[in-house]
């Protein structure tokens, strides 16, 4: 990130004009495969010598536990829930993300404000209120949106945890069964995401493809975002082992490491 920009009024306490790190965001609906892509990307970046912070929703020290508790038992109106999420978001912004960017790290964020805005919008919270609320968010170097349709999403959700209460819109939709609720909710949510993608110029990545094809597109976008960034010349473990192996310093089995290294090199 060369220049520090916010979506709205700059928040107090952040005086930086420039930050040497990069802020990279992955957005997409639940079950689309975000966490898999984040895991692959983190390893890929570390193998290239980047120091990586990864963070995501509800992981703040301040508000994470409170949100989890609130979502268990109570019916919470969407305004309160969003202000709670905003607290969690800002706490991570201020105490995880910005310090990492100052230190020249790559901050990898699994769901930024856009998931929150989309989820609130389908629940009837005015979009302009949400966008104003999140005016304190830093404009990222890259926002990748993992795009999918309900048809392709269904088997992924079912093969993992099944239908989640909130991710099926059961908190506000009055559908007779969870399947119908899920389809209706996700259809609305995905449409909302695409509206945001257009409005904020996300990089839309077709996530209907398999993991490796999707990751190819993710890497391409990340490479663009990393352009001009200085990397500490810290060789990765895999490369160190490779080099050592080449010099015959480490005897024995090196197949696992060389496989790791070759899969980590960028596809052409």
């Amino acid at each position: 990130m060369t220049e520090v920009r916010f979506y709205g009024d700059p928040p107090p306490g952040i005086d930086d004009r420039t930050l040497p790190g990069r802020l990279i965001v992955i957005e997409g609906t639940d079950g689309v495969g975000r966490s898999t892509q984040v895991a692959l990307l983190k390893e890929w970046l570390e193998d290239r010598g980047y120091a990586v912070l990864d963070t995501g929703l509800v992981r703040s020290e301040l508000a994470g536990p409170g949100i989890k508790r609130a979502k268990q038992g109570h019916t919470l109106d969407p305004i309160t829930l969003n202000l709670f999420y905003a607290t969690d978001f800002w706490d991570r912004m201020e105490r995880q993300i910005i310090p990492a960017l100052r230190a020249g790290m790559v901050a990898l964020v699994d769901r930024y404000v856009f998931s929150l805005i989309a989820r609130a919008a389908v629940r009837g919270v005015p979009a302009d209120w949400m966008e104003e609320l999140y005016g304190f968010a830093l404009v990222p170097d890259a926002v990748m949106y993992l795009d999918i349709d309900v048809e392709h999403l269904l088997p992924r959700v079912l093969s993992k945890r099944g239908f989640d209460y909130w991710e099926s819109g059961l908190d506000y939709l009055r559908e007779a069964d969870v399947y119908r609720s899920f389809v209706r909710y996700q259809t609305d949510l995905l449409a909302e995401f695409l509206r945001l993608a257009e409005r904020h110029s996300f990089t839309v990545i077709d996530a209907r493809r398999n993991i490796s094809e999707t990751f190819g597109a993710v890497r391409q976008e990340v490479e663009r975002a990393l352009h001009g960034m200085e990397v500490e010349p810290v060789p990765s473990l895999a490369r160190t082992l490779d080099a050592a192996q080449g010099a015959d310093a480490i005897p024995g089995d090196g197949s696992a490491t060389s496989t790791g290294a070759s899969s980590a090199s960028p596809a052409t």
């Binding site: 709205g8 009024d9 928040p11 107090p12 306490g13 020290e61 301040l62 508000a63 536990p65 409170g66 508790r69 609130a70 109570h74 919470l76 109106d77 305004i79 309160t80 202000l83 709670f84 905003a86 607290t87 800002w90 706490d91 201020e94 105490r95 005015p126 209120w129 104003e132 609320l133 005016g135 304190f136």
Partner: protein
């Protein structure tokens, strides 16, 4: 009739709120008003700052661990307020009750502005709030307020004293400067929001009389609790109320 924050709904209840720096005596006056309204048979719901059962635990955690920055301080208090608006204030106003609020959005506008949060932004964040029927501002000289607080409560907490603002190392001195800055914000809001300025150095009875005089015209058409009270019924029927458990703390014959 007042209106919901989004302007889409007319609410039959009334909303009276009090504001002022710590030690202005606003809570005492609101309590007296509460008793008076109840005695007149009105249905009264009381709500105070920072009391949402769902959110206040997080605020407490943030204060205890000193995790709160100006922005997270602002956001968590907004969450607390939003929860009270949706779970307490709006349902009460829809039912035609009188809601009394000890501190309202103006507390956030003042405290957050002092901490450097954008005044425009914080007003937009709180745009879901219901506009009060009457908002009282208890105006007290800083020295007098400080004297009242320091007399009763010598140890000031970190955020209460505004120590996070780094105005002074000494908690008492920090508190004084913090309250002074908040007072300036309130002063600007008196005109902006038409707050009713109360002279908080006046005699308590006279302040209360003035409050009631101002509240009274707003009470026209507000629903009262009907059905009479228990002691009237007992007198009329010549019964003793032997089985009325919560009447005199027991139904002993």
């Amino acid at each position: 009739m007042i209106e919901a924050g989004d302007g889409t709904e007319s609410l039959p209840g009334r909303l009276f709120i009090v504001e002022g720096i710590d030690g202005s005596g606003k809570s005492t006056q609101l309590d007296l008003l509460h008793k008076w309204l109840t005695s007149l048979g009105y249905l009264v719901v009381f709500t105070e700052w920072n009391s949402s059962p769902i959110v206040k635990g997080t605020t407490r955690r943030g204060k205890k661990l000193r995790l709160l920055s100006p922005m997270s301080f602002s956001l968590i208090h907004a969450a607390d307020f939003a929860n009270r608006v949706h779970a307490q204030i709006l349902p009460a106003l829809r039912s035609g009750a009188i809601v009394l609020a000890d501190r309202y959005v103006y507390t956030a506008f003042a405290r957050d502005a002092v901490r450097g949060v954008s005044r425009e932004w914080i007003r937009r964040v709180y745009s879901f709030a219901v506009l009060p029927s009457l908002a009282f501002y208890f105006d007290v000289p800083l020295d007098e307020a400080i004297r009242r607080i320091m007399d009763g409560r010598p140890t000031l907490k970190y955020y209460e004293a505004g120590l996070d603002l780094e105005l002074a190392d000494d908690p008492a001195e920090s508190f004084r400067r913090y309250q002074g800055l908040i007072q300036k914000e309130y002063e600007a809001m008196v005109a902006e929001y038409g707050l009713v300025r109360m002279n908080a150095t006046e005699n308590l009875i006279r302040q209360q009389q003035q409050m009631r005089r101002l509240v009274e015209p707003h009470l026209e058409g507000v629903r009262r609790v009907e059905g009479g009270n228990v002691s009237d019924a007992l007198t009329e029927t010549s019964l003793r109320g032997r089985y009325l458990v919560d009447r005199t703390g027991g139904a002993t014959p």
